[in-house]
Symmetry: C2
Subunit: 215 residues, 2 copies
């Protein structure tokens, strides 16, 4: 009990954020209280601005302030490969690797029936439509050659890949998923057995290489 309603409310709101426990919410609230009016206003207005300005790209559902997102607008990227991700934040990670130069599609989640996340709640149909449009007679939409699934390596991710690949199996497209294996820089000792098993099954011949341009 902080005895001050406004402070308690702020602690409550901060504690709703992921990874922020009651103790650190309290620390953050006191920090905000101590900080200048300008700084507190900057934070509050940044929160409001992000909610009012940012919307979903009409093509790929990534976040954007325009009709289409940065990666859908970029003219130098290939239209023929789509990388499917769960969340827009994954796009940042992939871009940092500088390996992928195609387009994206954001599902905004993965199939999880127990949590009420059915395929209909995700941007799966728009993805199917995107692929379909490219194969229509006389279509101006780009023809998709490959779909890369860059989803979380868990049950929900696997289910989602299975579901979407079934939706798309009538189209002549290559579908792939991220390799599972030893994280670079990581030692054998700390590797769990499932990752190790997957790394063994997907072992790569020494001297060979793979690239996105092989297709």
């Amino acid at each position: 009990m902080l005895k001050i309603q406004a402070l308690e409310d702020l602690v409550t709101e901060l504690a709703r954020l992921p990874g922020v426990g009651p103790k650190s919410a309290e620390r953050l609230a006191y920090h905000i209280l101590r900080s200048s009016d300008t700084k507190a206003e900057a934070l509050a207005s940044a929160i409001m601005r992000v909610k009012s300005e940012v919307k979903e790209c009409r093509k790929c559902f990534n976040y954007t302030v325009h009709d289409e997102c940065y990666y859908c607008q970029a003219s130098e990227r290939t239209d023929h490969i789509i990388c499917v991700v769960e969340e827009p934040s994954a796009i940042e990670r992939i871009e940092q690797s500088r390996v992928f130069k195609g387009r994206y599609h954001v599902l905004h989640g993965a199939i999880a029936p127990l949590l009420g996340v059915t395929p209909q709640k995700l941007k799966i149909q728009p993805l199917v439509n995107r692929v379909k449009a490219g194969f229509e007679e006389g279509s101006k939409s780009p023809k998709i050659d490959e779909i890369i699934f860059a989803l979380d390596a868990d049950l929900e991710g696997d289910t989602t890949i299975l579901y979407i690949s079934e939706q798309l199996n009538s189209f002549p497209i290559k579908m792939s998923r991220l390799a599972q294996g030893i994280p670079i820089g990581s030692g054998m000792t700390y590797l769990d057995e499932r990752t190790l098993g997957s790394a063994l099954q997907n072992r790569v011949e020494i001297g060979s290489y793979s690239s996105f341009d092989r297709g």
Copy 2:
């Protein structure tokens, strides 16, 4: 680079908070973006409200929405002992221990000349005035018997205690500080040598006890 200014700005503002690194700022920003408008507004308005409503108690400089804070207003507390703390958040900790029933005084920091925190920047003079007022002829202000320093156990805390005790040494008051010793529930193994040294010097005879009422 998130390619969206509003999102970048929010990440920047969140990363200014203590204990929030760039990665977790990004995670929080995406969480806020995904959350409902109502929830984002609740957070933003809680930030603004805490800044506009909360001010410092005119007596002890604790946070309050009134002229005087909860603990200065509470009639059942003794007026004769003041517990001096660095930050208002310390008051919560002390209250949780249920051991102290006097008044508080918040310095809003500790003396740190290298960081530019001089005694004049802290609420030290108002504390001296509070004590002084009680000893004035025919004064209605409460006479202070004891000052307890509940400051951080570091150089700044020690300096501050020394400075204030010199300011107050002309008054017939007892001054004390929190005991330093083994934290309850902690083992000997992990104790640093300074704490252990202090705990040894301040060893307590078995069977004896101390209480705030002994004075």
